[in-house]
């Protein structure tokens, strides 16, 4: 990592952190690293607190050109650390969460309101000293917007559709949104605290339920982290089977999303057909792996069970069916001017903003950021598979649909390659306890999922999961600005950020 190497080399490398290094750094080096990120020389990849014997904050950094990753750790004996958000706004919500969960205070932070903690938990800093307090919910101070004809529209947490809960505070001038502020945390379940002290097996089940639509991706990221910490690798066949499940998950979600976005633009026909294709993917998954969403199929060390004997045939038939029907739907989308009228130029996210937030998945790729963890830093078996990552620069709802369309096509041919080259052999290795630390990545349909663990024998001391939504939710606020209120559902659906994965 040439850019950050000098900064981090001032620190002390921590023994037993794999596969990428972790350095214990000084406050000066911490600030230098934050400045380098703010200057765009590297990207913020994660930021989390750790309150074991010695409280500290960890900052994961990635240099996108080389794929080099490192973690900088700063000890916080006084339970304070210099704010990264003061220099680099994408860190603000992460720091607010660190303060609320761990009780570590970002000094100089531009926004000191709590995040995730609404005052209902009966404890303070649940990942830190976990002191009992009386429940004391207070009013949340939404950011002000001033002007003569402005009015506010509060929406949520319970929304009109069958979707997850969150609160959106719109300030509108007539029909035009001048400010959207999100308040998230309604589905915070305390997953990281449930993981602390849990067996690897139970922690894997919790990771698989961080965000149900990405259960395979979370399973893989968590397994990668545990395997790295233990210094083991899953057998080759397991990695192929995981990739097969990951691509089926991507297919199902993208197909569902393409239909649902068009439905929010009042074009129900597309939804009806895409929902049928999605259902067929889930049925093929159930027949091949025994569960429609493939939950708990990925386990640290490999996969819980091998692909069912007639799985390859079931999946090949599925591919054939989608290949027959999907192009017609794409054509339908492409040729329906009334639909494009809603999606083109709606909810634009600038290339610059996406780069600063290092937003991944279709949101990043629709705005010029082609990052994909399957390529950079890459993991097996994708290093042996041939695929391209689509990139557009328009950054509107239309572009986010087209990225999904292209990714459906890529996943179809990835699945074909996986089936053709699926190696034989065992599908799992037994875990032997260890006490290392590991960082794992997986590319879910929504973007890159990061998992970090510290192990003690066969149990988890601390695990942190970072959903791609952390770097996408803030961009939605920007995307809807200047759009009409009625277009919000459309913009929101084109983002399809995770509430549960974010709230944990």
């Amino acid at each position: 990592m040439p850019v950050l190497a000098d900064i981090l080399a001032q620190g002390q490398r921590v023994v037993g952190h794999r596969p990428w290094p972790r350095y214990q750094v000084t406050p000066e080096a911490w600030n230098q690293a934050a400045s380098a990120i703010a200057a765009g020389r590297a990207s913020l990849f994660g930021l989390w607190g750790d309150t074991g014997a010695a409280p500290m904050v960890n900052m994961a950094i990635i240099e996108e050109s080389s794929g080099d990753i490192a973690v900088a750790s700063l000890a916080c004996p006084m339970r304070k650390f210099p704010s990264v958000g003061a220099l680099h706004p994408p860190a603000i919500r992460l720091e607010r969460a660190i303060h609320s969960l761990c009780g570590l205070e970002p000094v100089g932070a531009p926004d000191t309101r709590p995040w995730l903690d609404f005052g209902f938990w009966n404890v303070k800093h649940p990942l830190g000293e976990c002191a009992p307090v009386a429940a004391a919910p207070g009013a949340y101070a939404f950011l002000p917007a001033e002007g003569a004809a402005l009015h506010q529209i509060p929406v949520g947490p319970v929304h009109a559709g069958t979707i997850e809960p969150g609160h959106f505070r719109f300030t509108a001038s007539g029909e035009t949104v001048v400010r959207l502020e999100e308040r998230l945390g309604y589905v915070h379940k305390g997953i990281e605290s449930l993981m602390a002290g849990a067996t690897i097996e139970r922690a894997a089940q919790l990771a698989a339920r961080a965000s149900g639509d990405s259960t395979v991706a979370y399973g893989i990221a968590f397994a990668h982290a545990v395997e790295a910490a233990l210094g083991i690798e899953a057998p080759a066949r397991a990695r192929y089977v995981r990739a097969l499940m990951a691509e089926l998950e991507r297919l199902a979600n993208h197909l569902g999303d393409i239909g649902a976005i068009c439905n929010d633009a009042a074009f129900a026909l597309m939804q009806a057909h895409c929902a049928v294709l999605r259902e067929e993917v889930l049925r093929a998954a159930a027949r091949s792996f025994g569960h429609r969403l493939m939950m708990d199929r990925v386990v640290p060390g490999g996969v819980a069970a091998d692909l069912h004997a007639d799985g390859p045939n079931v999946i090949r038939a599925l591919l054939q069916d989608i290949r027959l029907r999907f192009p017609r739907l794409v054509e339908l989308y492409d040729n329906t001017a009334s639909l494009q009228d809603r999606t083109a130029a709606a909810g634009v996210v600038s290339v610059d903003l996406v780069r600063r937030f290092a937003a991944s998945g279709y949101i990043g790729r629709a705005s010029g950021r082609g990052f994909d963890a399957r390529k950079t830093p890459g993991y097996a078996p994708y290093d042996r598979l041939d695929f391209t990552v689509p990139v557009l620069t328009e950054g509107d709802v239309d572009a986010r649909i087209w990225i999904r369309v292209r990714e459906v096509e890529q996943s179809l041919q990835l699945i074909e390659q996986i089936l053709a080259t699926l190696p034989g052999g065992p599908v799992a290795t037994a875990l032997e306890g260890g006490d290392g630390e590991g960082l794992g990545l997986a590319e879910g349909f929504r973007g890159d999922v990061l998992a970090w663990v510290r192990l003690d024998g066969l149990s988890v001391v601390r695990c942190h999961l970072r959903d791609p939504s952390w770097f996408q939710w803030p961009l939605l606020e920007s995307a809807v600005e200047g759009n009409i209120v009625a277009d919000f559902p459309l913009c929101n659906k084109s983002f399809n950020c995770s509430y549960s994965g974010h709230d944990l």
């Binding site: 979707i163 945390g185 449930l194 259960t215 889930l282």
Partner: protein
Amino acid sequence: MRRTLFESLTRRPLTETPPTADNAALAELAASLDRAARQRLGRSLAIREVDAGSCNGCELEIHALNNAFYDLERFGLRFVASPRHADVLLVTGPVTRNMREALERTFNATPEPKWVVAVGRCAADGGVFAGSYAVVGGVDAVIPADLHIAGCPPTPLQLLQGLLALLAPRRDRVAPQP
């Protein structure tokens, strides 16, 4: 578009034969609901879904009920946007402390008579999230549930079998054969 539309005229419908209502669900409902409420609710039910803290897995399968294979609306069951229009609250997830008040308020906004259906293992007792500082527990810890549908997440078929129990007294008149 024309081609796609015409084709649907000639293709066999995808919609599947309705399953019979789940026996366990029938028994649970028989114990919890009086006949009068059932008769007032009649044969068409409006459902309001509430995610009280789920991982979103349950929502995905609830969504699937609307696809052409399950086609929930043929049974007279449909999703509505407001609890004020609802007869049934379909609640998922362990109830988080941060969602507790919203769930209570949604319940209070739903007119009587109403039924509460707890969907998924989490909604039964908190599931894998039970015991967390951020979780109250299952749905019953906050509002009384009349019916529980098991599964993590329940498959659309399991959901359908559970929901059909709500219509059971008149099921033979309600469920048309495709």
